[in-house]
């Protein structure tokens, strides 16, 4: 699905607040406890088969702790997009901006990305912490940002942006949301002929994620993949 534009359904990286019983059965007790405590779940990139529910992930208190689940259709109460977190600018005077370099770096990232006219948002640990107040970031967290690009980003422009983001006070992991799926800015800014696209159907290599015939690569697209733990 094309998540570079607005859609009627939640997109990967959106945070959704749900009813605790909306995740069905077979959920790890720790994950259920997180949701019951009012933590949102994160929309994952995975196949959206009819009747299987929205793919989401629960973020645990421990580093790397994640639980993949499916949310019963329509069972969410509130939603935050990465863009809405960026628009809020909640990193300004954030109490943890000094302790967590990634939160501190958000102000610099915002300057750069807003000046460039990008449609962008904050995801990952920083996005989660800004949205919930839960201290999930640690000293060496990256600042994860998402850039929606329904139109082709020239590779030279990607290189300029990647270089500018490298100067921030914390590592910035930027992903471009293209019509074909998510592509790492560093990949598109690099020299490889083909870049890795993360789509609902799984990852594939593609020369141009904006090309209509990205379908020239269609034979390389995965026909089926197992549930992936992350977006």
């Amino acid at each position: 699905m094309d998540y570079s534009r607005h859609t009627a359904v939640p997109r990967p990286h959106d945070l959704v607040w749900i009813e605790p019983d909306a995740l069905g059965e077979h959920i790890a007790p720790w994950a259920l406890a997180r949701v019951a405590a009012g933590q949102p779940v994160v929309v994952r990139r995975a196949r959206r088969d009819a009747g299987r529910g929205l793919p989401v992930g629960v973020r645990g208190a421990h580093r790397g702790q994640r639980e993949a689940a499916r949310l019963e259709p329509g069972r969410w109460q509130a939603l935050r997009t990465p863009e809405s977190l960026a628009a809020d600018g909640a990193w300004i005077e954030h109490p943890r901006a000094a302790a967590v370099a990634a939160i501190g770096a958000a102000a610099g990232a915002a300057c750069l990305l807003n000046a460039g006219g990008w449609c962008w948002g904050v995801t990952g640990a920083v996005g989660f912490e800004l949205a919930t107040g839960e201290p999930v970031c640690h000293a060496d967290s990256d600042l994860d940002v998402l850039i929606r690009a329904p139109e082709r980003v020239p590779r030279a422009e990607a290189r300029r942006l990647a270089r500018a983001l490298e100067a921030l006070s914390a590592p910035c992991d930027a992903q471009i949301e293209t019509p074909a799926g998510g592509v790492a800015l560093a990949d598109w800014a690099g020299a490889a002929k083909r870049v890795l696209v993360k789509s609902d159907a799984g990852p594939f290599l593609c020369a141009d994620p904006w090309s209509e015939s990205g379908s020239a690569d269609a034979d390389r697209r995965p026909s089926s993949v197992a549930e992936s733990p992350s977006g």
């Binding site: 560093a186 990949d187 490889a192 993360k198 990852p203």
Partner: protein, 104 residues
Amino acid sequence: MQTLSLDYPAGAPAARRALAGVVGSGDLEVLLEPGADGRSTVEINTSVDGVNEIWTAVVDRIFADAAQPAVALEINDFGATPAVVRLRIAQAMEQAAGADTGAH
């Protein structure tokens, strides 16, 4: 950080060096150098705990064909899924064989 070292029988050394992938969550970096004749080595550095078995299974399958060019791979993993691991290693092998020169 955990390190895992694997090795496999292989053919003649690969033609050239290659680099695939990026530093970033859910991805990995593959540095490929021509290996010693008849032997491929794979060294994986990963920030994720408890994934040695998955890595071994994925890489075993990729190197199952002992006629492939001999390579020395150094992999820096940032939580890539097995599907991403397979694509990135394949991308590096293609570049080393000259199929994807990386020129742009």
